[in-house]
Symmetry: C2
Subunit: 157 residues, 2 copies
DNA sequence: CCTTGACCTCAAGTGAAGTTGAGCAATTAC
DNA sequence: GTAATTGCTCAACTTCACTTGAGGTCAAGG
């Protein structure tokens, strides 16, 4: 058999293969393992063996990271995936929804920020403690000082 | 002696006052100074004395940081403010526009990301290195490791 | 079989963005 | 006028997200 031998059914792969498929550095993948983001098996030589579903797992990590989540946030989200079996679409959809809802919020906040920059920063209100954007309500301080308020840190709840 | 003593014309203030007005920690303000983001005068006792316009300056730092800019990016932007005089509205508007343009991009990108997340994450495309979600053209990555900050705070729990 | 490249572990380093602490000086409040 | 508060410098420590290097092992091709 010549040519095409793309890994036994390409069901399992080495760390290098996974790195190629995800665009991550090998060192990053090992690092993620220490953070509990992936937990590969080992072959009898002690080398890591990954499943194809780990590609998606790490891709999710990358996406979520770009959305601003910390590795710990992501770890927590991934922890809700089934441990015994390969996650299904439904599994993924479920955890994606959590992140997506958050995104809506973030988009709204960024839009507000843009408006702020365009219309407000030159107006002087930045120097005023009571600027609705910088400091919407008295008492917001305890949730995060200063301009954090701009982002819509809700003090409610 | 009791009552109203709201700072001599509140034109100049101590680092503690500035910290109160911006919500920043005193240590952070000093740190920003080492990064060239503020350059206060000193009184004859050697203590830092800030102008009211520094409130705006630091507020801008906070806002820009939350947009994902590094302190170095911000330093560069602030460097275009006039050094001899207190910045005018126009000065601020000018530098804000630069950041704002960037923001439009980001909002667009995030909106795209949200759409993908809703419709795509379960579909398998996440396993592809080229998925726009994983690898957006000019991804947030180029804004540095602070991309996290762009997006604000943590996943609601 | 033997070489070469991929992998292994573990420790240390990086850089961003600060915080904390020691030891001391200046300001403010009473 | 004195005590408490605030400020000063400088060095070291912290967290996050990785990378790099040393020293050694495993596995696939020729």
């Amino acid at each position: 058999m010549p040519a095409a031998m793309p890994k036994a059914a390409n069901q399992i792969m080495s760390i290098g293969d996974l790195a190629d498929r995800t665009g991550l550095a090998v060192s990053a993948i090992r690092f993620y393992e220490t953070k509990g983001l992936v937990t590969p098996e080992r072959n009898r030589g002690g080398q890591r063996r990954y499943l194809r579903s780990d590609i998606r797992r790490l891709s999710f990590v990358q996406v979520a990271q770009q959305l601003g989540f910390s590795l710990e946030d992501i770890r927590a989200a991934l922890a809700s995936l089934p441990s015994g079996r390969t996650p299904t679409q439904k599994d993924w959809e479920k955890i994606s929804r959590g992140f997506g809802a958050n995104l809506d919020d973030r988009i709204a906040r960024m839009t507000r920020l843009r408006d702020y920059l365009e219309g407000c920063i030159g107006c002087g209100c930045l120097s005023m403690k009571k600027c609705a954007l910088v400091n919407p309500e008295d008492g917001l301080k305890k949730f995060g000082p200063g301009a954090r308020a701009v982002l819509g840190d809700k003090l409610a709840r």
